[in-house]
Symmetry: D2
Subunit: 313 residues, 4 copies
């Protein structure tokens, strides 16, 4: 199977088509595109059956990708528009799975203290929670308010507990009818970082997410439907290097050049070529260890102490 | 000239030697190594004259590189040892430039709100400030305490003012005898991120630092000696891709393989090769836009609102 | 019953004795003091029976108060000493309740985003988690390592779920033998803010904690022993005002002064008297709404926009 | 003179009138009120001469107080409206002092790391900076864009340098025509915390601000006009206690009660009375040391270590 190195069904489908030189859609997959205004594009990938599942290594179901341009400089209005696109797609999936007043639990996966993994917990801070109000102050709310609760369970490395174990316990105790899980994803494309939302009605399956092996969070394991909202927040350095190498090999092959050509290759040319591949004008890309924050804390101490002891006797 | 893509004199010297197949030291440069315990290595690069300056594109002077292993998991003791190494080297430079009680201003360059650029401002938080105490409560301090002050002036993009203009104004007003500038650097090597300190008695010259063009902060511009303490916090994605490409070309050349070889290259092999180049066991490297934090804030709003409006009618 | 306005058993006992003019210990309570070095004082209050329970409104059991002086300026060494005192007392309680290798779940109550309520979640970040390592990499650990896991469940206002519901679910799923709960408390004394630890083997009962009514977290509700570690982080403004008033009334009564006296009272004298009650030299006390951080975010936007539109046309 | 314990000219004027039983306006002061919509109230206090200065201890000039209701729950729209009020008043003051394209420097006083003192630095993050763009990319901007720069100089305790020394240096180097200074203030009223803006064309004079003695930032010291934008972020605990006592004394006097009355006063009654004074329904007031964040960091270490060593052998 192809080493996709992406959690987005859309990117996997594109890679599969390219690798297999397919002109038409993959057997077992349906796709559908829609442009909203200038900045928002919605692509729906539906995996119909086992054939589709095998091709791109994702569970059968709906994968809706919302690409938002210029997210970095988004103003109030752009954010509102993008959120309306999320609302619209999410509403359709919800209405297929639960009733209008059925209890929903929103789960923010990830580690608040690791920037590219913090999206899930950050979303949770802004969710409008109603479940406790319906219990303690029902007269404050409209009659048909849906009970919504939310939790950031942390990650295995900081809790020592599988996310599934935590959620299973809570679900069994408070009996929501559906879970929405927010998660950080890896993508192939730097432009998609924090600028794309994938909504899937299949839950989260092993291998997805940033790094860690985890148990799946799906209807099979939790007993209720799971909608996964994933946002790409990282691209692996190896992915970028591999993409460069692909481009390079392709160029060498196209020009039917060989060893000779390589011998003459100038550092400058090569670097320019790479720059071209890597650098969409708007971002400065950098490679950092995920632990950059901890590293910086430790290093701050080293340098500050170094100066303190050097400047005083 | 070589496109060094690193602010470390040591890395530049190594690249120059390799590019020119030099066995001996570069003309105009002296180097000196010292190992301290298991985890700390100090390398001193002294640029003696214009020849040395030209070779590696750095001002004549002393560049002391302190490499610290396993910084990520550093405990209290390791941090203390590393800081002692910084103290020792810094003390020697200081004693060559100013008297024991001469007033020092410590400057933390960089942007607190951009993780890989936040090191300078973070160090400033931990500096022991004495200048105001010597003025207002002198009896609290030892008689021979040196006046130390500190400031984080921000960056051009957030202040609209050149760092040099801010510092010039302050230096002219409070008359320190020496400035220590803390700065984030770019390096070639992922292992050096927040694990290496470069101390230089030459100040900071244009082109140094992460990204921005800036005016130099040196004795020439500030009128007093400037010691620069630089810490690599980023590697450019292009650097990594270029390094991979170099390795790849070298391999192709060594094996005298040509187009044929390329045609047969398997995705898997190539990816494995890249992994090997990129992946020291201890870190997970990721490529992120520098604006990742802002992106994540905006995206959090989009998703939270999307859910809020979807779950309520 | 007395309106104690404190969660510390020790303060309640002192208030009860004072209110009832008791010279000897309260019936049903045993107390015991120990001084460790200059800065640490340990007081053990043991509530023996219903009489003791009724007197001070706390469940029968052990309440150990560790007071640490000069916490604000604590160095590495002081922190180590204080933590050793916590270790020692906690070990005794643990050994009475569970075996040496029995599984423990540490729970950090509170809201990370409200400074005086953030202590629980912050402690959780620094707990050494072993449970997952024992499952996935047992050879990395000593044979007799105890499984420890940890979670910050959030607060009702941000999750919509009772803490008890979350913990009950997790406890039923992962079967720890004991829970340690970290919680922020209210105290009577400003000097105790973040400078005192109360360790209790009774769990947490309604009314405890900062503000919210909550269900109790005890052996009765969770089915396993619960040790509560509480740290005072706030004093209510009303408490301080009431204490001032008490002092004032007492003074008026002592001096047998009456309306006449009040008429002559000078603003200055009164303010000085209050200062005396409130101001231990080392702190600056301020009264803030708990929501200060949100308020400041909103106000920042107001002022920045105000300036932006005023300075440009 | 009255011990005002507030930096707001409006509160000082009210206290002075009350203390002197004035029905009419204070001699040397003019006042003017305006209500905007439901939530915003603007009061202008103009100190005309030395008489007015003496009465309330503030420099002659304009003090505009903008009170915003319900700031805590302010939505996007409320924030916009409040900022428009700030814009309108600020524009008038600006047009009296400088030309439309004259260079302005915005200064955020305060300490980012102490919540109630962080407002100035936080505002600076959101100021639209144009000065550097006008220099480096003038074609990106409208022709008549005003050059705006901004800086957060830190506080004496963390820099060792008087704010005046830093600003004097920068002003002398970059020659703005006016300085806008953002500052945290103390007020008498808990409702005003982060809900009121005072704009003054008199700059900042000693004694103002939270705590520290500082040199004045005015036209006299900086050589150019200084507009001060102050926001109350704290009330001293002593202020609240004193207000309670005032109320209490007043009540005792009104009712012509004496020692007898005091003897009978019940704790409950007194506490209720205090609650009434302190507790506007919407906030939870708490008394915290300003250093609460540091205290909490230290205490987190103590407890986490305590648990770590207690749970492992």
């Amino acid at each position: 199977m192809i080493n996709f190195r992406t959690d987005l069904a859309l990117e996997r489908r594109d890679l599969y088509k390219k690798a297999n030189n397919l002109q038409n859609e993959i057997d077992g997959i349906e796709t559908n595109e829609e442009q909203i205004g200038e900045n928002i594009k919605i692509t729906k990938v539906k995996i119909l059956n086992e054939k589709g599942e095998k091709a791109i290594g994702k569970k059968a179901g709906n994968y809706i990708t919302i690409d938002i341009k210029n997210m970095k400089i988004a103003g109030e209005e752009d954010i509102q528009k993008a959120s309306e696109a999320v609302t619209k797609e999410l509403k359709v999936l919800l209405s297929n799975l639960v009733g209008e007043q059925d209890d929903i639990l929103v789960v923010g996966l990830g580690n608040l203290y690791v920037t590219p993994d913090a999206l899930g917990p950050k979303v949770i801070q802004d969710i409008d929670i109603t479940r406790h109000l319906l219990t303690y102050m029902p007269n404050l709310l409209d009659k048909d308010t849906r009970p919504v609760s939310a939790i950031s369970p942390g990650v295995l490395g900081t809790t020592g507990i599988e996310t599934l174990e935590i959620l299973k316990g809570i679900v069994d105790n408070i009996h929501p009818k559906l879970v929405i899980v927010i998660d950080a994803l890896a993508s192939r494309s730097i432009e998609r970082i924090s600028s794309t939302v994938q909504i899937a009605d299949t839950g989260i399956v092993p291998g997805a997410g940033v790094g860690n092996q985890r148990k799946e969070l799906t209807k099979d394991t939790l007993g209720i439907p799971v909608i996964a909202i994933g946002i790409p927040t990282v691209v692996e350095a190896a992915t970028i290097a591999a993409d460069c190498l692909d481009l390079f090999i392709q160029k060498v092959q196209e020009e039917a050049k060989s060893n000779d050509f390589l011998n003459k290759l100038q550092e400058e040319n090569k670097y320019e070529m790479i720059k071209e591949v890597l650098a969409p004008e708007e971002y400065n890309f950098i490679v950092t260890p995920k632990e950059i924050d901890e590293l910086i804390e430790n290093m701050s101490s080293v340098v500050a102490r170094g100066i303190n002891f050097a400047t005083q006797k």
